[in-house]
């Protein structure tokens, strides 16, 4: 049984297929969105995403960071694969070949959804740039629609501090967003 509350680090080091599936669920969309915004088309982004997660699967037990979130680790893999693809003109297949992965086809409908992900993932990326306490508070309030009192209890702070963290987090997001657009 996989603990869905486990950190990325715990999931990766656990090393089994079920734990990796939970890890994949957490990150697949933003990785694909990230790659889409830097790739010429949705198919190229999908191809790269498959290679990124194949590399992550191969290297999961070698995750050495003390950071509980593997966002930076995945981002490094994705950037690396992306740069390699931009240099050579095609996505690497090393990790997929090593795992003997079968190709996953991309339909036209997929391409449309991948394009849509590119927009959504901007917000996810911006969230990752926030300090951890603000990020947690923003997610708890905006995504999970939690009450400030509950957020405060979970974070071990007063309700006022919880409100302040959400407020500062949203302000930070706005600033970052304005810089990008």
């Amino acid at each position: 049984m996989v603990d869905h509350e486990a950190t990325d680090r715990e999931l990766l080091l656990k090393g089994d297929a079920a734990a990796f599936a939970v890890f994949y669920d957490r990150h697949a969309e933003w990785v694909l969105g990230f790659l889409r915004r830097r790739s010429p088309d949705g198919e190229a982004a999908a191809d790269l995403a498959a290679e990124v997660f194949a590399a992550a699967l191969s290297g999961r037990r070698r995750y050495r960071s003390e950071n509980a979130s593997a966002h930076a680790w995945l981002l490094a893999i994705a950037s690396n694969k992306l740069n390699s693809a931009l240099r050579s003109g095609y996505a690497e297949r090393r990790a997929r070949t090593r795992l003997a992965m079968r190709p996953v086809e991309v339909t036209e409908e997929d391409v449309a959804r991948i394009d849509a992900l590119a927009e959504v993932s901007v917000v996810v990326e911006l969230l990752q740039d926030l300090p951890a306490d603000q990020r947690t508070a923003v997610l708890a309030r905006i995504v999970d629609e939690g009450e400030y009192a509950d957020i405060a209890v979970r974070q071990g702070v007063s309700e006022a501090v919880a409100r302040q963290r959400v407020s500062r987090g949203l302000a930070g997001l706005r600033r970052q967003w304005e810089k990008r657009v």
């Binding site: 090393g15 089994d16 297929a17 990796f20 599936a21 994949y24 669920d25 957490r26 697949a28 969309e29 694909l32 999908a46 995403a49 498959a50 997660f53 194949a54 590399a55 699967l57 290297g59 070698r62 490094a76 893999i77 690396n80 740069n83 390699s84 050579s88 003109g89 095609y90 297949r93 090393r94 070949t97 090593r98 795992l99 003997a100 992965m101 079968r102 996953v104 086809e105 991309v106 339909t107 409908e109 997929d110 959804r113 991948i114």
Partner: protein, 321 residues
């Protein structure tokens, strides 16, 4: 995970990742123990059974040890052909690659401490290519070997499961390409040998009608059921050759090879294919294999190994009237 209900790309990718992850899981469990489990389940816990179990475990331990030693020393594989040793240096990165058959040795030059820092203690993969004739982007000929680079070491060897001859590169997953080189001497040498063998074969064949000759491996003689007795081809050889009356020119298949030369060569490891052309037309393909002594010999006739009058007719069909 995504909020999307119907399977779409990420769901299908997830399923494929789960499939290969499950295979990885299985692979990482001890295969010997895995095979023992069902047998253990069937055994009754009697004293003699326990004794048998001990014996089985002892036997498994011995077998595993022997197999491991054999694998490490590469005993079960045929020895790598003593081909030419080649070396090339990535001057920009300060990394020297030496290739000796299947063994690639990578040496970091002393004036590039940053490269040592990059590889030290990290998993560094070496990828080399075998198929020098592959089109750009074709990765079917690539082979990758993964090793942890010992911290502080300036040299490391990689043993490939097959011969590599074209180019090699080092990668670190989080960094990308660390260094890369190509070995032009290695494969241009092979191409010359292949062309020489195939041209000699076609010359002998065209003049003597002996498809099985000094430039072919015994497999070709078996393939066409043809032997030479007293220097002359047997009836089986003649059966393979086209009857003189069946060609438009009224002459045999061997005659049609007269003047043909190698125009294209494709190499993949210790195998190669040479396409023979005459007057601008491709007339035949022969397949070659590199022997343990490094010599190239024709191993099969035809692009797919098909031989005999039927194959000859097929070849004629492909060429058109």
């Amino acid at each position: 995970m995504t909020g999307h209900r119907q399977p779409w790309y990420l769901d299908r990718l997830r399923a494929e990742l789960e499939r290969v992850a499950a295979i990885e899981d299985q692979r990482e469990r001890s295969p010997a123990l895995g095979r023992l489990r069902p047998a253990l389940g069937r055994l009754r816990p009697a004293p003699q059974t326990l004794a048998a179990l001990v014996a089985v475990f002892a036997l498994v331990a011995v077998v595993v040890t022997v197999v491991t030693v054999a694998r490490e020393s590469d005993v079960e594989r045929p020895a790598a052909p003593p081909g030419k040793k080649v070396a090339a240096t990535d001057v920009e990165r300060g990394v020297r690659f030496s290739l000796d058959g299947r063994v690639l040795t990578v040496q970091l030059l002393p004036d590039r401490p940053e490269v040592l820092e990059t590889v030290s203690g990290a998993e560094i993969s070496a990828t080399c290519d075998t198929n020098v004739a592959a089109p750009p982007g074709d990765r079917r000929g690539e082979t990758t070997v993964f090793r942890i680079w010992p911290a502080g070491e300036t040299s490391l060897s990689y043993r490939f499961p097959r011969d590599v001859s074209s180019w090699c590169r080092l990668d670190r997953q989080s960094v990308g390409i660390v260094a890369s080189v190509s070995f032009p001497v290695a494969w241009s040498g092979a191409r010359e040998q292949i062309a020489e063998t195939a041209n000699n074969w076609v010359r002998v064949f065209a003049s003597t009608e002996q498809a099985c000759n000094d430039y072919t491996a015994p497999s070709v003689c078996k393939q066409i059921g043809c032997r030479l007795v007293g220097g002359k081809p047997t009836e089986a050889c003649k059966a393979w050759l086209l009857p003189a009356s069946s060609t438009p020119s009224g002459k045999g298949w061997a005659w049609e090879h007269r003047g043909a030369t190698v125009q294209k060569i494709a190499i993949s490891g210790d195998r190669a294919a040479a396409t023979l052309s005459k007057d601008g037309l491709e007339i035949d393909t022969v397949q070659l294999r590199r022997t343990a002594t490094g010599e190239w010999l024709i191993d099969k006739l035809g692009a797919d190994g098909a031989v005999g009058p039927d194959a000859a007719a097929q070849r004629r069909e492909h060429r058109g009237p």
